[in-house]
């Protein structure tokens, strides 16, 4: 069986939401860049412990992405790029995936385990340890 991606219907829904936000930003209705700097902490984990969770910064990162500012998105939360890649890959026609060289495809099955390791390593080294040291 193919590597499991997000069902296309759902991925298209989220992609449409992102495009609508980007459109609103382009039309000047949504001050995405200003909003990204002004969002209060609403993560219950960070509110209680003072340590940002691995998902903290995702709203700001998405706002940066829709306002065409990928470098800030990377700083707020690098996994916003994983989200973007996953959604894009889920929308692409499945037969395109079949054209990916077998050598590359052989590396795909453990991909999620690797990403999970990255998420945990990122949280420990980029957020937990600095927050504890401060």
């Amino acid at each position: 069986m193919d590597h499991y991606l997000i069902p296309r219907k759902i991925a298209s829904g989220f992609a449409a939401c992102l495009l609508i936000l980007a459109g609103m930003h382009a039309a000047g209705i949504l001050p995405a860049a200003r909003l990204a700097g002004a969002i209060p902490v609403f993560c219950p984990f960070e509110l209680l412990t003072g340590i940002p969770c691995p998902g903290c910064g995702m709203t700001r990162a998405v706002l940066c992405l829709v306002s065409g500012n990928p470098s800030d998105a990377l700083l707020y939360n690098p996994f916003s790029f994983f989200l973007l890649t996953l959604i894009t890959a889920s929308i692409l026609p499945r037969r395109w995936l079949k054209r990916v060289p077998t050598g590359v495809r052989a590396m795909l099955p453990p991909a999620y385990a690797v990403i999970l390791g990255l998420v945990i390593a990122f949280w420990i080294f980029d957020r937990l340890l600095p927050a504890l040291a401060a």
Binding site: Y4, C53, G55
Partner: protein, 192 residues
Amino acid sequence: MRCDNCGNESPEGSRFCIKCGKEFGASSERITVCPHCGVQIAPGSLFCSACGKSIGAPQGEVNHGRTSQPPLSEPPTRPLTSNIALDVVLSVITCGIYWFFWQARQMRAINYLLGQERYSFWLWFFLTLITCGLYNIYYEYYMAQGIVEVQDVRGYPRSKDLPVLSLILTIIGLNIVTDAIQQNEINKIFGK
């Protein structure tokens, strides 16, 4: 006891018919419940008498060892499937309050499909609350495992990466994407 195949009488407790050699009870190993709608069907049916779907050939990667499925109890009166887009929108505009009702419904659906009270809403609610949401990360993984188990038992193609994908998406704060994906799998099992 009487053989289904040739009609000959064999001594009580025989494993095989003494006349034609057919194994007793072999027919009870076969499907007696439709994997699609859960209705009781005659052993050996190729198509379900209630929904008309094919019994013999589920697609994709399924468990080949098990062909009979546990019968489903009476369906609960409250709905078990839902419109995913509506769930997502309602969860966002109610700042997450609706999400709790959505989770409760997913738990009811999987408990019903598994035929056991595996997921408890109040236990989840309490543990999620006192761990500031950390328990929910584990819970989404556990729920995805339940969905894969139901897919195996009911002969649907299994989403083998669903648990790890649920874990990643929930850790990076995207519970709503996880729940949308899980609801999609649940809706598929119910044929919606």
